[in-house]
Symmetry: C2
Subunit: 213 residues, 2 copies
DNA sequence: TTTTGTGAAGGAATTCACAGCA
DNA sequence: TGCTGTGAATTCCTTCACAAAA
């Protein structure tokens, strides 16, 4: 496929989805997979799988399928999850704790190197993962010192934009915002807003359309 | 707008996004908002806002804008978040705890009435919200007894499909799956897969494209 | 005058269908 | 024969541009 083809935003998200069953197949010793099977596991169209992969190269063998190990490696390389990323997190409530302690993320190479909260009570507390909760005032200094690449926001929504501004000011280039508000940042900083209450509302909408038993 | 118009899937998610600034405006005593302003808050096109709303009715006043209170009420009604929903949750790890204790969800009318885990150690433990962790064996009985409408899955991925099947069998009509695997259910049960590790991978991809300083 | 509601235009993403290759 | 890679067709979604209404 042409190197110049525009890659749909959604294609990137699907690559991550494709990697999930690939990990399982690899563990189970299955070495080859067809686009049809992979599509079935992920609930998408087989042509979609082939096209998504073709944006980045020719990874398959005609008449055979895709080598599981190779394909997984390629996807990890495309998504840049074949390397470690250094992150910090701001807002150590329940959600913040859940994310910082998550085994799954740790295994994926997301390394949290600092945790912040504005609540004085929490300062100095050691988390199970070993990090010590720091006051937000130290954010700028620690981000630079520890070379933090991504900031994860798990504060209440009314603090999210201020925290984003702090992160941008400290030189962070990527922000993952879990609070239910859309934060903005100047060009040069990539924002991912992950309001997952939206998914509850989406589900409620679809359920309300379905005839009740 | 015609009642027969097909409503884009994404429009529903945006309605939820529109509701976020509306809540803030309401609290601040602002009574009227234009599509342009609302669009700006949410980072979308003003025509998009108007079209999304027009799928469901004529909520605005030409030359004026939208009444904040009315619009918020309409959106809540459309998303069916103007009523309470009864939920259960399976998998009481860090993420499960974070979700069940979340103030935000509670305020939105999502009422958790049962919590399950397969780990015997946890059975009988009382959560801060007052629920007692139950063995998964009791799921079917309790779902029916408590009239659970939505099941929330926060188990490891290799258990997610089995739990989904249990939920469907017990008569649950909606499932929100937070584990990093796509679960399936027969028609009649609505599934929302919310793999948010995908958002990390998405961010990593975009950061790896950006020239490093 | 201002801002909504919406048909029409435009753009983007998905799916089809088949050529190309192992 | 079987399955990938991909141009073409299709479907879906967004944005434009302006008539309609307050």
């Amino acid at each position: 496929m042409k190197k110049t083809a525009k890659i749909p935003y959604a294609a990137i998200e699907r690559l991550a989805l494709y990697s999930r069953p690939l990990r399982v197949l690899l563990k189970n010793g299955i070495t080859v997979i067809s686009s049809e099977k992979l599509a079935e596991y992920c609930g998408v169209n087989p042509a979609q799988v082939r096209k998504d992969l073709a944006y980045f190269g020719e990874f398959g063998v005609r008449g055979v399928g895709y080598d599981v190990t190779d394909l997984l490696r390629e996807i990890k390389s495309i998504l840049a999850t074949d390397r470690d990323w250094t992150l910090c997190i701001i807002g150590m409530g329940n959600l913040g704790n859940a994310i910082v302690e998550n085994e799954n993320f740790r295994n994926m190479g997301y390394r949290f190197v600092a945790a912040f909260d504005k609540d004085q009570e929490k300062h100095g507390k050691t988390l199970p993962c070993g990090l010590i909760i720091q006051p937000v005032e130290k954010l700028r200094h620690l981000v630079k010192l520890l070379n933090v690449q991504i900031g994860v926001i798990t504060t209440p929504p009314d603090e999210a934009q201020r925290v984003t501004d702090l992160l941008v000011d400290a030189g962070v280039k990527g922000v993952l915002n879990f609070s239910p508000t859309q934060v903005k940042a100047p060009k040069g900083c990539v924002i991912e807003n992950v309001d997952f209450a939206v998914r509850f509302e989406n589900l409620a909408y679809h359920l309300s359309k379905v005839p009740r038993e």
